[in-house]
Subunit: 157 residues, 2 copies
């Protein structure tokens, strides 16, 4: 087996283990840095009562703790299924270089997960979305941004 398939198989094993013990949906993920696993997790939405506890988010957080940095440049994310938009966005914020996944969003949709709908929803305008969204440009709202961008000590991420 090539290294990609070995790591991807590990992500699938985690998906199986986590969902068998009832922690959440059947999803697993690992983060690999220089050929070594530095983060691995399965979905724990149900066990932790946390809707953000997807496997990829948890694996990214573990990998960042391992490297001591909020960026994972050069790392690879292996996911048992195509990341949902929350997890894919997290991978961008983490500056992950490459993502390998086994099951598609269509396969997740077939067992009742809304990943595919969510990609479509994000592409809609504010007024077309199922969550009601209101933009209220309060006076003073820009002050935190102005202070931050004017601070030479700030840490961009």
């Amino acid at each position: 087996m090539n290294p990609d398939d070995i790591f991807l198989t590990r992500a699938i094993e985690l998906a199986l283990q986590g969902s068998r013990q009832g922690d959440g949906g059947p999803f697993g993920a690992i983060i690999v840095h220089e050929g070594r696993i530095i983060g691995e997790a399965w979905n724990r939405v149900v066990a932790s009562k946390d809707p953000t506890a997807h496997a990829e988010i948890a694996a990214i957080r573990m990998a960042c703790a391992s490297l001591g940095h909020f960026h994972l440049s050069g790392c690879v994310l292996y996911a048992s299924s195509e990341p949902c938009p929350m997890c894919l966005s997290a991978a961008y914020w983490a500056r992950i270089g490459r993502i390998v996944f086994a099951n598609s969003r269509a396969e997740a949709a077939a067992i009742g997960f809304c990943d595919d709908d969510l990609y479509a929803e994000l592409n809609r305008t504010l007024t077309e979305r199922s969550i009601v969204m209101e933009h209220r440009a309060l006076p003073g709202a820009l002050q935190p941004m102005r202070e931050w961008s004017g601070n030479p000590q700030r840490t961009p991420y």
Copy 2:
């Protein structure tokens, strides 16, 4: 001031407080349930070395811990800035009913944040994205999904 503006002002105050102490970007968020704040946070990406530590994600996690559930149906998310796709997706997974925000994604882009680009990037096909993405449909990859969907004890979310 109407209640929306009172809560939104609180989110802006959190943005200011968090970024003044160097915890991360100038972003704050609160979750309101039946008129009461049940989660509030500011961005702590830098302080916690965690790229997922956006204000909205942290506020959602706190609110879920408060209600003891992974869904926040009927809750309102107030954010100092338009949520990035990671945080907006988290709001969908949490079944949040309504989102009110003060600054737009264009204003975040103007001070160097990639939210706007990220919305565009998510809408691209796998091969057009800046993160290299590979779909490897391994034999056995669907087993976790099949077991989960065939388990009458499963908890959908």
